[in-house]
Amino acid sequence: MSRLAETLEALSRAGFSHAEAYAKRGRSRRLSVGVGGRSAAFHQEEGWAVRATTQRASLFYAASGAPRPDVAWPEADGYPLAFPDPDAAGAAAPWSEPSDFETPLVGESEGLRLLAAVAAALGDEMPTARLLSAVLEDGSSESRLLSSRGVEAHWRRRVAVFHAEAALGEVRARVDLARREARRFGPAELARLLADRLAAAAGGAPQGFSGRDRGELVLAPAVGAHLLAALTPYLVGAPAADLAAAVADRRGRFAAAAVTVVDDGRHPGGALESACDGEGLPTRRTLLVEAGVYRQPLLSWAETAAGVRPAVGGKSAARPGGCARRASWRDPPRPAPTHLYVVPDPALPAAALLADLARGYYLLDVTAPPRLDLAEGAFRVPVCGFAVHGGRAREAVSGVELCGTVGALLRGVQGVARDLAFFPLDGMMGAPTMRVGGLELRAAGR
C-alpha cells in the first residue's frame, strides 16, 4: 500500500468521512548575478498535504518530507468540505506528456553563462545601461494525489523563470518571463526586452501633453497581459458572471468582437501545461469570452455543481474548468487560471496595428500593477511606451497612466495581432498586441 493510501486510511480511522492526500517532490536550480556577485542554489523540495472532512468540520494539514500516516492530526474546525468525484470535471481529452519534461535542469555553469551573456548583450544594445540583477530558475516536479472519492492522479511539471532588473541612470526596468525550460531563453532576446523597456521608461510626458490625451493606443502583449490579470474578477469564480453583467453594454455585449478569452490548462508549450489540476481532475480548454460574447466564468467543479449562472443573460450549463491550482504543497487548491489569454488573430502581424496609426501611443509595458475599482468598473495603470506619429515611434513616454472604464477597454479593442506572449502573473497571463480606442492617458497621479 502506498504512503498516500496509508494516510487516507489513517484519516478514516481518525473519524474523517472523506479525505484527499497529496504529495509533491521537486528539484530546482536558481542562478543569479547582481551587484553583490553570483550565486548558485540547488533545492530539493518534498512535501505533502491532506484535506479531510467530517460531517461538521474540516481541516487542511501540510508538512515537509514524505507523507506520514502516523502524525497527530489537528482538530477539524469550521465547516465540512466537499471532494470531487473522478468525473466531476468531465471526460479528459487525449493528452501526451511533452518530451521536454524529460530534459535535465540547466547546469550551474550553463546558467551563469546565460546570465553573463544577457549582461553583455544589454551592453551592446544600450552601452550606458546596467544590469542590476538577473535570476534564472529552472525546476521540475512530480505530484501524486489520492482521494477517498476515487480520484487518483500523477502528474509532472517543468518550468523555468527569468527575472531581471536593469537601470539607465535613475530609470529602472524589469522583465519577468516564464518558459518551460531555461534553455528556451536567449540572451539577445532578453537584453532587447530590457533595453526597450529602459528606453521607454526614460521618456517623460509627450510633447504638448496637457495632462490628458485620448489618442489611439496600441498595447504591447505585456500591457494586455497585466490588464487581463487585473480583470480576472470578471472572468474567474462564482461572482464573475454578475460582475461581468454590470460592465456589459445595453445589448449585453461584454467585449468587442475581436476579443476571445480562453483558459487552457493544457496550452501546448505553456509553462504550466499539465494533464491534471491541483485536485487531480483533468484540465481543459475553457472558452470564457467568444467574439465579445461572455460565455461563462472559469469555474471549479464545486462552483458548477452549486449552479453558478454561467453567462451574461445566458441559461446554458457552465462547464467546470479543472482549474484548481496549488501554489505549493503548503497551500490548499483554489480555483485559478492556468494559461488565461486573449486569443490571437493568426493573420494579423503586430506591425499592421501600428502602421496606420496616424497619431497615438504604443504602450510597451506597465511600470506598476494596474489598480481596478470594482465598484466603479474602472481601472488605471502606470505605463511607458512611445508616442506614435504616422505609424512611427517618435518619442519615449513615461510618467503617465492608462485610465478608463472596464467596459471601454473591453469594447474598445479594434484588433488583435498574432504575437501572443505569456507572462507569469497570477498564473500565466497572455495577450497579443492589441489596438484599443476609447481610453485615456493621464499624467501619473492626476
Partner: protein
C-alpha cells in the same frame, strides 16, 4: 505566551559535528560556510466557508551555504537528517574533502503533539465583540494565523549561536472597504480591542473624500511613522540596496534627515516573543544606530556585505527560509522619542492632516522616490482631530521627506509592524516609534 516557550527542537543537535563537516568545505582564506536548520509551524483559521475550516502547516529543513569572494553556493532540503545534510554538503563543496568526516547524527526533537492554537480560534469572537461594543456593525471576515519558527545556525568555526525562536500572529480583516492587515506579538483581548478600534474608525470614515493635492503639515501616528522609517530609513540603508547606487560605505556620515531623527535597529529589544540575540546567519545582533541626529551612522549588513569592510558589520542578516539566501534587513526599528506631547503635535499641525496608519509603502532605491499609501485619516483643526479624510498618499524623495520632520512625539510605543516582501522574501518587521510631525510634504489623492 506558552507557544513561544516551546523548547527548541535543535537542543540535541550535534553542532560540533556539523561544524567539523562544514570545515571540510573551507579551503581558501576568507571562505565562509554555514548550515541553517529551521522548523516552522503555522496554524490558520481562515475566513469564509469555501475552504477547510482549519489549516495547519509544519515543516523543517536545512540549507548549507559556502561563500567565496563574490560567489555563493547554496543547497537546501525539505527535511533534516544525515543523508539530506551530506547531500547538501556535496552540492555546495567545490572540492572533495581531504579526509572523510563522519556524518553528524542530526537528532531533532519530534513535534509536540497536534498543532493547536486555541487563542487563534477565539480571536474573531473577541474582535466582533469589540466592534459591537463600539456600536458598529458591518460585514467582516477575519483570517487569523499563528506563526512559530525555530532556527539554528552552525558555522564552520567562528559562529556558535544559540537556537532562536519566534512566535507571532497575523490577522487579515476583509471588509467592504478592502483588506487591513496587522501583526501582533501576542493575541488576546488587547489586540482584539486595538483591531476593533481600527476597523470601526475606518468604517466611520468610509464616505470621507480624499484630500485634494496639497502641501502642509502632516502628523504620522506611531504606526504610520513605523512604515515611513522602515521604507525610508531601513530599506535605504540596507547594504545590498545601497550597492545598487555605488559603494555602501559611502553612505556613512551622509545627512539623511532632520536632526530630530535618531533611529536604531535592535532585534534584542523586539517584543519578547520575537526577540532575537543572533541573526539568520548566527551572528550576534547589535544595537545598531542607523541614523544619529539625522546622519547615517551604520548601514544594515550581513556577512557577505561586511566581508573586508571596516565600516560595515554583520548581525542584520535575515532570510525568508532555507531556500533563500540571507540579505541585510532590519528587524526591530526604534525611533527615539522627542519632546512633543500629543497636544503639542496637534497644535503645531493646525490645518494639516493626521494619518494613523499606512496601508503600504515603497521605495525606489535608485531614484530615492518614496510612496506611502493611507486608507484615510483626519483633518487637524484647532488642536483637535476634525472631519475624516479618505484615501491619500504621501510622495517624495527620501531625503526630502526625512528632512521635513519638524517634531517627534514624546511617547514611543510598539507600533506598525508589518510584512516586508523585499526580494520576494516575505518576513515580519517590528517597530517601536512615537508620532512624527512633518511640514510641507506633498499629499495627493
Amino acid at each position: 505566551m506558552p507557544s513561544a516557550e516551546a523548547p527548541s527542537p535543535f537542543a540535541d543537535l550535534d553542532r560540533a559535528a556539523v561544524a567539523r563537516a562544514l570545515s571540510q568545505m573551507v579551503d581558501r582564506p576568507g571562505d565562509w560556510a554555514d548550515a541553517y536548520f529551521e522548523r516552522l509551524e503555522e496554524v490558520e483559521l481562515p475566513a469564509g466557508e469555501a475552504g477547510p475550516g482549519l489549516l495547519a502547516r509544519r515543516e523543517e529543513g536545512l540549507a548549507v551555504r559556502l561563500m567565496r569572494g563574490g560567489d555563493v553556493w547554496l543547497a537546501a532540503r525539505d527535511g533534516i537528517g544525515p543523508d539530506a545534510f551530506a547531500d547538501a554538503l556535496r552540492h555546495v563543496a567545490r572540492v572533495l574533502p581531504s579526509a572523510a568526516t563522519p556524518t553528524p547524527s542530526l537528532a531533532v526533537a519530534p513535534w509536540d503533539g497536534a498543532a493547536a492554537a486555541p487563542e487563534v480560534l477565539a480571536f474573531p469572537s473577541l474582535v466582533l465583540r469589540g466592534v459591537r461594543r463600539r456600536r458598529a456593525a458591518f460585514p467582516l471576515a477575519l483570517t487569523v494565523r499563528r506563526h512559530r519558527r525555530w532556527l539554528q545556525v552552525v558555522g564552520s568555526g567562528k559562529v556558535v549561536a544559540e537556537a532562536q525562536r519566534e512566535c507571532f500572529y497575523s490577522v487579515v480583516a476583509q471588509t467592504s472597504r478592502g483588506r487591513r492587515g496587522a501583526l501582533f506579538p501576542g493575541l488576546g483581548e488587547v489586540q482584539a480591542e486595538e483591531l476593533a478600534d481600527d476597523l470601526v474608525s475606518a468604517f466611520r470614515g468610509r464616505d470621507a473624500t480624499s484630500p485634494e493635492a496639497w502641501r502642509g503639515p502632516v502628523i504620522l501616528a506611531p504606526a504610520a511613522a513605523a512604515v515611513l522609517l522602515h521604507e525610508a530609513v531601513a530599506h535605504a540603508l540596507e547594504a545590498d540596496l545601497l550597492a545598487l547606487g555605488g559603494d555602501p560605505e559611502a553612505a556613512v556620515g551622509v545627512s539623511l534627515g532632520a536632526a530630530a531623527l535618531n533611529v536604531l535597529d535592535d532585534p534584542a529589544t523586539a517584543p519578547e516573543t520575537v526577540r532575537r540575540d543572533s541573526d539568520d546567519e548566527g551572528q550576534p545582533v547589535r544595537r545598531r544606530w542607523l541614523l544619529r541626529a539625522g546622519t547615517v551612522a551604520e548601514p544594515l549588513a550581513d556577512a557577505r556585505w561586511s566581508a573586508g569592510s571596516e565600516l560595515l558589520a554583520p548581525g542584520a542578516a535575515r532570510r525568508g527560509g532555507r531556500h533563500d539566501l540571507p540579505a541585510p534587513r532590519s528587524y526591530h526599528l526604534e525611533l527615539l522619542p522627542g519632546e512633543l506631547a500629543a497636544a503639542a503635535l496637534l497644535a503645531e499641525a493646525d490645518g494639516g492632516l493626521f494619518l494613523p496608519a499606512a496601508e503600504s509603502g515603497s521605495l525606489d532605491p535608485l531614484s530615492g522616490v518614496f510612496r506611502l499609501h493611507f486608507a484615510g485619516g483626519s483633518r487637524v483643526r484647532g488642536g483637535e482631530l476634525a472631519e475624516p479624510v479618505g484615501r491619500c498618499r504621501l510622495l517624495g524623495r527620501v531625503a526630502d521627506l526625512l528632512a521635513a520632520v519638524v517634531g517627534v512625539g514624546d511617547e514611543a510605543r510598539p507600533a506598525g509592524a508589518g510584512w516586508c516582501a523585499k526580494g520576494g522574501q516575505k518576513m515580519p518587521v517590528w517597530a517601536t516609534a512615537p508620532a512624527l510631525l512633518l511640514e510641507g510634504v506633498e499629499v495627493t489623492p
